[in-house]
Amino acid sequence: MATTITMPQLGETVTEGTVAQWLKKPGDSVEKYEPFVEVSTDKVNAEVPAPVSGVLREILVKEGETVATGTPIAVIEEVGAQSSAPAPAPADASVQPAPHAPTPVTPAFAPTHADRSPAATAFSPGLQVASSATNGHGACAAADAGSLEAALRKASPAVRRLAREHHIDIRTLKGTGAHGRVTAADVLAAAQMGPSAAVGQAIASAAAPAATPTRSTVSAPPASGTSTYGEPIPGTLIPLTQARRIIAERMVESKHTAPHAWSMVEVDVTTLWAWREREKARFERETGYKLTLLPFFIRAVVESLARFPLMNARFTPDGIYVEKDVNIGIAVGLPTNLVVPVIKHADTLSIKGLALAAAELIDRARKGKLTVDDLSGGTFTVNNNGANGSYASAPIINAGQAGIVTMEAVVKKPVVVENDAIAIRQMMNVCLSLDHRVVDGYIASGFLADLKKRLEAMGPDGVL
């Protein structure tokens, strides 16, 4: 008996999904619960398990295509049933992902891809190899094989063994050895940071201007969000990924519907900084994660939200809904994407608990392994903008929340203190965007002042 598989609904507000990758090709057998297709939706990539055991008969939606939830995407012939479905038509062969071959692109994307090849040759020395090959796909495959060979040639026996043991692709690591060689210590460091670290590093290095261009960007399907911006070519159009389109829609929606008001306070974090400095080595040794200012900040935010519950609320046509839970979204910028995973019940966690929860979410965000659940339920958002040196910023509110605060860069400044003396203090700006429909400046500034007071009272002593 043939079972038609439809596009699943991944998340309560999701109405469509993109087939990111077929994990099986027609003719392959699939076990019940075995992932057979990867679907990407609003910032989430999910592997869809097969509802029945059998043989994948037909693929109805090509990789990269977006269809509404409930649309048939494949047919599985159940085990034991007589085959009544026709053998895969030759036309289907074009959408079968062959092992090691570049993933085929959608017809709509193909011309863009073709346009890119000469441009890539012109702008990127790393891609000149491609120009000598007979076609784009072949060139990409050859270039990838070459980079693997080159990586292995420089990899010591220890690096190869450790990479194998820890399931780390050494090509994704940034080498700290002589001439950028990946050392055994690099592999171990990546392994210690968790399985996502390698991917995170890869993403980070892909974003760095000096990084070697990744050939996969040219051949990647449009659905794989991480590679879209890998190599922007002047004069070409970068097709929207699902994630990028939804980010765009959400930003416009929020900015257009929620009247943003903005305020900023300057916070003296000298003692907080000292506290964190004292704790950070031990924390990293004990947990394997770096201790940033973020968990301290979140702790102060949830305490201030408790005093100002209207900041933990949302505007509805029927009234202001004051949230029951305090779920803090943390904005995680990825090279091509922005995700806001949520620390649920952040008000119940200690600073250490917040640090671990945040680190774990950030890790998975970088790996692209966040679940729908990780991304939903946020009631207030924190953005650690200062990590990149920003001094002030005007963030856009996450739709459905009353506000978003940013931590800006911590800088040493001369400050007038008691008795008109001037002291050098570590200062940080905290910026707040608020939905003026929910609260007015009176509450918002009260919240900011309270947050400032709490941050300034933190450290130099304390328990994480």
């Binding site: 010591s156 026996p157 220890a158 690096v159 190869r160 063994r161 050895g177 002589a178 060689r181 050392t183 055994a184 210590a185």
Partner: protein
């Protein structure tokens, strides 16, 4: 605990052995009336008499040959070759006889013989007072080779060598004789042969050496750690053969990078064997090619200072090699 230099450590250990065991005796050139060219056996002849402190002719084959016979018949001879450079005539007796007696007699005879000899350069000893001979004997099963660097190790290892039922070649680096001082525990004690000593723990590079160069390697490693934060583990082999594989491999598996340092020529040297052993046992732990910093493959150390310096390594050179490996 007394502070001694290496000469004093050898002398004190020999003295105790002569005192405690009537079977022990010393034979060699100038060991009697002259009291050895480094004064190691000074006045021994007065106390123990010419039957146990035997001045021999300048005939190394005979020194070794007679000692082999003495050892086979129940004595505990400690033969001295005045300088390792002169050991070649005794090669037949050491390699062809001493090392093979247990095997040849099917275990009926053993050869509890110690051959002590000062070796090594850096003392303006030129062609015939600078040589390192360890690799020449390294190849020979049945011989043990010891090359301690510290006074306390000299005492413990010389005691063990004298007790050993088979021949032991005991190498004393002559530049360390009065240069190196250290505390030596009182009373009789032994240090097992074939046991290396981790002088300084480290995480990034393993430096393996013996003799004079151990001191320089240690100096280089400490400087690198203090000034550049580079962490080098320094292993003093102490015994060249048997090789302490366990200590070497443990360290290599930790640091994944190996530097072998010795004064003896590189080609076919001790470092070659250690490299081969590591490659066989720990290839998949290596994160860098094994590196050897050794004497050049030239016939001898020149007398002229620039030639001697060119032959000898230095703490700076060692530090540079360690640094390069750490950064590799």
């Amino acid at each position: 605990m007394a502070v001694m230099n290496n000469v004093e450590a050898v002398r004190a250990t020999l003295y105790d052995a002569l005192k405690n065991d009537e079977r022990t005796l010393i034979l060699g050139e100038d060991v009697g009336a002259r009291g050895n060219v480094f004064l190691i056996t000074k006045d021994f002849i007065n106390e123990f008499g010419p039957e146990r402190i035997i001045d021999t002719p300048i005939a190394e084959a005979s020194i070794a040959g007679i000692a082999v016979g003495m050892a086979m018949e129940g004595l505990r001879p400690i033969a001295e070759i005045q300088f390792a450079d002169f050991i070649y005539p005794a090669f037949n007796q050491i390699v062809g006889e001493a090392a093979k007696i247990r095997y040849r007699s099917n275990g009926e005879y053993t050869c509890p013989l110690v051959i002590r000899t000062p070796y090594g350069g850096g003392v303006r000893g030129a062609l015939s007072h600078s040589v390192s001979v360890e690799a020449l004997f390294y190849h020979v099963p049945g011989l043990k080779i010891v090359a301690p660097a510290f006074p306390a190790d000299i005492k413990g290892l010389l005691n063990t060598a004298i007790d050993d039922p088979d021949p032991v070649l005991f190498l004393e680096h002559k530049k360390t004789y009065r240069l190196v001082k250290g505390e030596v525990p009182d009373g009789h004690y032994t240090i097992p042969l074939g046991k290396a000593n981790v002088l300084k723990p480290g995480t990034q590079v393993t430096a393996i050496s013996y003799g004079l160069y151990v001191h320089w390697a240690l100096e280089a490693a400490r400087k690198l750690e203090d000034e550049e934060g580079i962490s080098v583990e320094v292993i003093d082999l102490r015994s060249i053969r048997p090789m302490d594989k366990t200590t070497i491999l443990e360290s290599v598996r930790k640091t994944r990078k190996v530097l072998i340092i010795h004064e003896d020529n590189k080609f076919g040297g001790i470092g070659a064997e250690i490299s081969a052993m590591i490659a066989e046992e720990a290839l998949f732990d290596l994160d860098a090619p094994i590196r050897r910093l050794c004497g050049p493959d030239v016939p001898a150390m020149g007398y002229a200072l620039p030639l001697e310096e060119e032959f000898m390594s230095s703490p700076d050179e060692m530090a540079a090699a360690m640094r390069e490996l750490a950064r590799f």
